[in-house]
Symmetry: C2
Subunit: 429 residues, 2 copies
């Protein structure tokens, strides 16, 4: 989808949707454009032709796809047939300014409630350069993250503190010590722990950072720990400062619950990498005819300032299809502005039931190692321990990068050989 910017025209925001409608799709597209730029059931005095010309949303294209006989979503107008279509709408940037929450109010807003639609998903967004440039974007992106944790090449091998809840700060620090001595690049809090009474950040951050700082002094390498600082804006800024003051390099937030307004506020304050956790995202993708594609949404999270973004993983324990996972990851690694000096890519974070087995197909489909590969059991449950677990994951990614099979590479990598025996491949049926 190319953004059209003919000479003399004002810049426009363009959005693509997959809709299903009991109406003529052209009429449904007009209803969408009307709802999102003038929207009442009567023509009003103030709505002059000049105003419409300047501010109305425009239907750029309607491409009809298949026709069915049952609606995907209830609540639509009655119809005999339900037509799927790709609809492209555009708005003058002047309607929105350069605000992400207001962009969503405009391009998504009430559309999911329209009775003209029995299916509605926002599938892509194209924003003009002046919009993108007005927003901060990721502060560290790929190179900055690699620099902070001293991992020059290959994926960042990561893990999540488990059990997710219940460990004291001291117990967590003890586990972190074991993990970083095992060679891990990246550790994150689970999204289920932020600042609870049994493990307040005021105690968890110093306890963990003492372990990490000592390791860094001894080895010259400082693994990254993503502290979950999810909360109100002011709480998050305060917690960010706590992490920074103890030498931490990364903070994490549940982006869907803090919201784009709070994420952008955190980014403007932040001196650390921001790890974006998308828990709750399922509501936006679980029904194929409803919601927002991550391809569209991740761009907004990056513009608000996320350096890392979760994308699930291949053959995960979750409902998302592998093709969707890879589309999300590719989107995170695609610059929003071609040729820009600033790197606005986010590192995709693969997680959920990942082991050595997903390395090759992930690399083959992504053609990149600029990612965070987090394993829970896939590292911790390696029969020879955490260090062997880490080495087995790195070996699997080496095999992927040089294009040999895990089985062949395992002949010279004993930890990988053990992992292959310990972990069942989800691809072998």
């Amino acid at each position: 989808m190319e953004l059209s910017r003919h000479e003399g025209q004002l810049p426009r925001i363009t959005a693509r949707y997959r809709i299903e409608t009991p109406c003529d799709p052209e009429r449904a597209a007009e209803a969408m454009a009307g709802e999102q730029s003038s929207g009442t059931f009567l023509k009003l005095a103030g709505e002059t032709e000049a105003l419409r010309e300047r501010h109305a949303a425009r239907v750029e294209s309607v491409t009809c796809l298949k026709v069915g006989t049952t609606p995907s979503l209830p609540g639509a107008l009655p119809g005999e047939t339900y037509t799927s279509a790709d609809v492209v709408l555009s708005w003058p940037l002047e309607n929105i300014g350069t605000s992400l929450p207001n962009l969503l109010a405009t391009v998504f807003g009430n559309l999911t409630e329209l009775r003209e639609l029995s299916g509605i998903r926002l599938t892509d967004l194209v924003m003009p350069a002046c919009f993108i440039e007005a927003l901060p974007g990721p502060q560290f992106s790929i190179e900055g993250t690699r620099r902070l944790c001293g991992t020059e090449q290959g994926p960042l091998v990561g893990t999540i503190i488990k059990p997710s809840v219940g460990l004291t700060p001291e117990e967590t620090a003890t586990l972190v010590k074991q993990l970083i001595e095992g060679g891990i690049d990246f550790i994150k809090d689970d999204e289920l722990i932020a600042d609870p009474p049994y493990s307040p950040l005021s105690e968890r951050v110093p306890a963990i950072m003492q372990v990490i700082n000592e390791h860094a002094q001894r080895t010259g390498r400082k693994p990254m720990y993503a502290f979950n600082i999810t909360g109100d804006t002011d709480e998050m800024r305060h917690r960010h400062d706590l992490v920074r003051d103890h030498g931490g390099t990364c903070v994490m937030a549940s982006v869907n619950w803090i919201g784009l307004g709070a994420l952008a506020a955190l980014r403007r304050h932040s001196q650390l990498a921001i790890h974006g956790h998308r828990n709750g995202w399922g509501v936006f993708y679980r029904h194929p005819q409803l919601g927002i594609s991550y391809r569209a949404y991740q761009a907004l999270l990056r513009l608000a300032g996320a350096d890392h973004l979760h994308v699930n993983g291949l053959a995960s324990k979750f409902a998302e299809e592998d093709a969707s996972v890879m589309d999300s990851a590719r989107a995170c690694l695609t610059p929003l502005l071609e040729g820009a000096e600033r790197d606005d890519r986010a590192m995709p974070v693969f997680s959920s039931a990942q082991t050595v087995h997903q390395a090759c197909p992930t690399f083959q489909q992504l053609q990149s190692t600029d990612l965070i590969y987090t394993c829970g059991g896939g590292i911790m449950a390696h029969p020879d321990g955490v260090a062997a677990g880490c080495r087995s994951i790195r070996a699997a990614w080496e095999a992927a990068s040089i294009g040999v099979s895990l089985e062949d590479h395992a002949k010279q990598e004993p930890d990988l050989a053990v992992a292959l025996r310990a972990f069942h491949s989800p691809f072998s049926g």
Copy 2:
């Protein structure tokens, strides 16, 4: 659903879900509890019995409903049958602390992604008193809002600036003058206009407030204008101050896009009523087997600080069923804490294609006039003008309150009689 708090037990958060599953529903409920409190595919060393006892989510009840043969949502494990069930889970408050974003990460989090579920909706939440009391709640609620705009009884008769986009600050102020001279109580920006270049708040707020302040000086009554300040946390605080400094009484935000973290931050700063616009909410309700019931979510928006919350309206132009609209409105008017000194109710805001016709059924079902009733065309398109439009709406609500039909009441209320002829009833088929 009663929250159980036996003596000596720690307070717990309780959540109710309507699920559909290809598995044994008891097993599905255990999977939900596991995912949201320990969640990996292997038992880990640190997960002791004592830790589980203290921190694990608990399955409180599973009530099987009907059994079907097709899944409502794709991506679930294959099954021969799909069982619907009501599941109640609880968590120790200690896992979460008193943070709204982290509450959602815990009670909703990854549940929509579980392959054990082919349907998943959070339908209700019960929070212990100490959780509720730790959060600010609405600052003005019903009485405070009535005091600010001088409307002692009956619904606040409101309208939305239309056209939604494109009017200059001066054009908007001229429209506001016409509306308040017509007797309106409440006016709001459309959610499609916040702080765009063609009508920046720095110009719109002074222009509108000059009109409103002059009216207040002359008549002793200051209609409420909800300025849409949606944006980043800092932008919103700055805009709040601008509204306050010009004598405004209300700010509005698109709560789903700013997020709970930013809403709570705004509330802590605010001296004005907060009008919560829920555009985008459709994604949470449009599929009946997916999402969050507003009954559950509105409680969080109130605890974060919203004084007014949109609920759509009866016989609206949107896909939501009337029963769902009324359930939302009743929820907004139900105290979260029985017998508390603080009033934590929010005024429900009815909107979308509302005219005189919805007054009686709305009152009959809600048994309250503590609400904001917004009409666009339903006031502006009254054949005798805005003042007659306002009077016709008030007359319709009087009829509703005293229990006479609109037709009977119209015999002594000529503006209502004209409105009944001008606007077709959506209930007459």
